[in-house]
């Protein structure tokens, strides 16, 4: 497919990455070539093949419903880039 500017913008927006016009111009042809390359897979006959939905050979792996507290919650809070008391603080969320 031809990757147009609109799609690049849409993708960057979904991924929450700000792209300047200059960067968009840099990435667009590269992305175009990569996407053209990966389209190689269209050469495979995939009829009747089941997708690999879970790669792990394991099945039914559970954890018992027993409380085990993490001993270093303060270490988690210490990483918050901005905080108020024990909360993470962010600019106001507008619904």
């Amino acid at each position: 497919m031809k990757l147009d500017k609109k799609t690049v913008k849409y993708i960057a927006n979904l991924a929450r990455i700000e792209l300047s016009g200059e960067e968009a111009a840099y990435f667009e042809p590269q992305m175009q070539r990569i996407i053209e390359y990966v389209e190689k897979i269209n050469g495979l006959n995939l009829e009747g093949i089941k997708p690999v939905l879970s790669f792990s050979p394991n099945t039914n792996v559970f954890r018992p419903d027993q409380i085990q507290r993490f001993e270093n919650t303060e270490g988690l809070i210490a990483n918050f880039p901005q905080k108020q008391d024990r909360f993470v603080k962010v600019p106001k969320v507008i619904e």
Partner: protein
């Protein structure tokens, strides 16, 4: 004493025999890092004293220093994946492998440089700057675990840990002339490994001596209640290197193609002849879907990566860009925090998963992955293991492929298939190019057949000395 010429288990033996103390060993390698790292940039963080470790361990590597890749979480230390976006993040927990290393008495020296978020095959995308190849400092060490490979190659640490998603252990091992193993998917817990492609990622060991690789694998592997995808397996027995007669080595014809450098081709064929002369059966086999593997891999691994890297948003940890609004926190933090390769992969993955493209890209690739698995399944009915070149070329020049991502991606062409299938694969040094650059051969085994890989590599190392070569400057 030249401790850097000894293997890890030899050093552990001297400690056990009280010929060396933990401290002497730590200081020796610590000092080598201080001395040599400025020219290599292989280590991004090193510690003045080892992180707390079990001094009473009876493991065969007790007391051995180790460097771990900067994407493996270390409690109380910065862990950044060589990305600006994680600058300042201090992990409040230890990854499972780090706990196991500490229990086994290994002394953690520091964290190795890498491609940002393990995206790359050259270690040029690190926010700390590129790593240099100890064999030629104008060349890349390979990637993404280039720092981990370079430290072992230059003798800054006897062993190290890296991670492999599409070749990130094997390719730098081959570029730096050391051994590097990507274990079977599930063999080593991923808890605490900062995820790139969750259905591919495996942590694995680097060493010069293959015995060290085996010991290290035994230490870090096993089922982990914190990783649903980890698998219990018996610890590997010690190497048995007496005899390889009758062993059937498959050589996939699709790997000896245009683009394979003559030097590499010649070196691999020499190794194959060696095995043949010692009684192994060399058999041409076919992995027909090989030419599609890079495409399948880049769709799947990037898709998983795009989701795995969403959490780096400036909200909970790491770097947050100054912002007026919430939306700016996301857009600016991620624009400034991620490098170009990370952005490319995130965008490629986001694209493959997005509505309207999912069926044509992601879902197709999931099906193609099944085909690739079946290729190997069929091939392993005809041989015990496979030998291929690890990489089509020896180490390339710094900057050579940086702005040509596709050509960079294609340098992983020989390592990606085993990753797609989840198979164990080991790169072992097997010679040099005419320019004096190391070449590695890749030995691919069936699921959980690491022991067979090690035995073959052990037999090879017993009878050759490629693995003992050290770049002159670091002798």
């Amino acid at each position: 004493m030249d401790l850097h010429k000894l293997s890890g288990w030899e050093i552990a033996g001297k400690i056990k025999a009280k010929k060396l103390s933990f401290e002497e060993v730590f200081d020796y390698f610590h000092n080598r890092i201080i001395k040599f790292n400025p020219q290599l940039n292989a280590v991004v963080r090193w510690f003045d004293k080892p992180l707390e470790f079990n001094r009473n361990s009876d493991s065969p590597l007790a007391g051995v220093p180790i460097v771990i890749k900067d994407n493996i979480c270390l409690k109380g230390k910065e862990t950044t994946c060589a990305s600006r976006i994680l600058k300042g993040f201090v992990s409040p927990y230890d990854s499972t492998v780090v706990q196991k290393l500490k229990n086994a008495g290994l002394q953690i020296l520091g964290a190795a440089n890498m491609d940002e978020f393990a995206f790359g095959s050259s270690c040029e995308t690190s926010c700390y700057g590129p790593v240099k190849n100890p064999w030629d400092k104008t060349r890349v060490p390979g990637g993404s675990s280039g720092g981990s490979a370079a430290v072992v190659s230059a003798g800054l640490s006897p062993v190290s840990l890296g991670s492999d998603t599409g070749g990130s252990i094997r390719q730098p091992a081959s570029f730096c002339g050391v051994c590097g193993l990507k274990p079977t998917y599930g063999k080593v817990s991923r808890y605490g490994l900062i995820a790139f492609g969750s259905s591919f990622d495996q942590i694995g060991p680097f060493s010069r001596d293959i015995q060290d690789c085996l010991y290290l694998l035994n230490i870090i592997s096993g089922k982990d209640p914190k990783d649903s995808t980890s698998v219990q397996a018996e610890p590997l027995k010690n190497l048995s290197v007496q005899d390889i007669s009758g062993l059937c080595i498959g050589v996939p014809k699709e790997y000896f193609i245009e683009g394979l450098s003559e030097d590499v081709d010649k070196t691999i064929r020499q190794a194959l002849s060696f095995f043949k002369n010692n009684g192994a059966v060399i058999k041409e086999i076919s992995l027909p879907s090989t030419e599609y593997s890079v495409a399948v891999y880049y769709i799947l691994a990037s898709s998983e990566a795009s989701s795995n890297l969403s959490r780096f948003d400036g909200i909970k940890y790491g770097h947050r860009e100054k912002a007026e609004s919430l939306s700016e926190v996301y857009f600016k933090t991620r624009a400034k925090g991620f490098g170009r390769e990370a952005k490319r992969r995130i965008m490629l993955g986001t694209f493959s998963l997005s509505s309207g493209y999912y069926e044509a890209y992601y879902l197709k690739a999931l099906k193609a992955r099944q085909l690739i698995k079946e290729d190997f399944k069929a091939a392993f009915k005809k041989c015990d293991l496979m030998i291929t070149p690890t990489s089509p070329t020896a180490a390339f020049k710094i900057g050579e492929k940086l702005d040509n991502p596709l050509s960079m991606y294609l340098s992983d062409i020989f390592t990606i298939s085993a990753s797609l299938a989840g198979l164990p694969a080991l790169s072992v040094p097997c010679g040099f190019t005419s320019q004096g650059l190391p070449v590695g051969m890749q030995i691919i085994g069936n699921y959980f057949q690491e022991e067979m890989l090690f035995n073959l590599a052990g037999f090879y190392q017993k009878n050759t000395d490629w693995h003992k070569k050290i770049p002159q400057e670091y002798e």
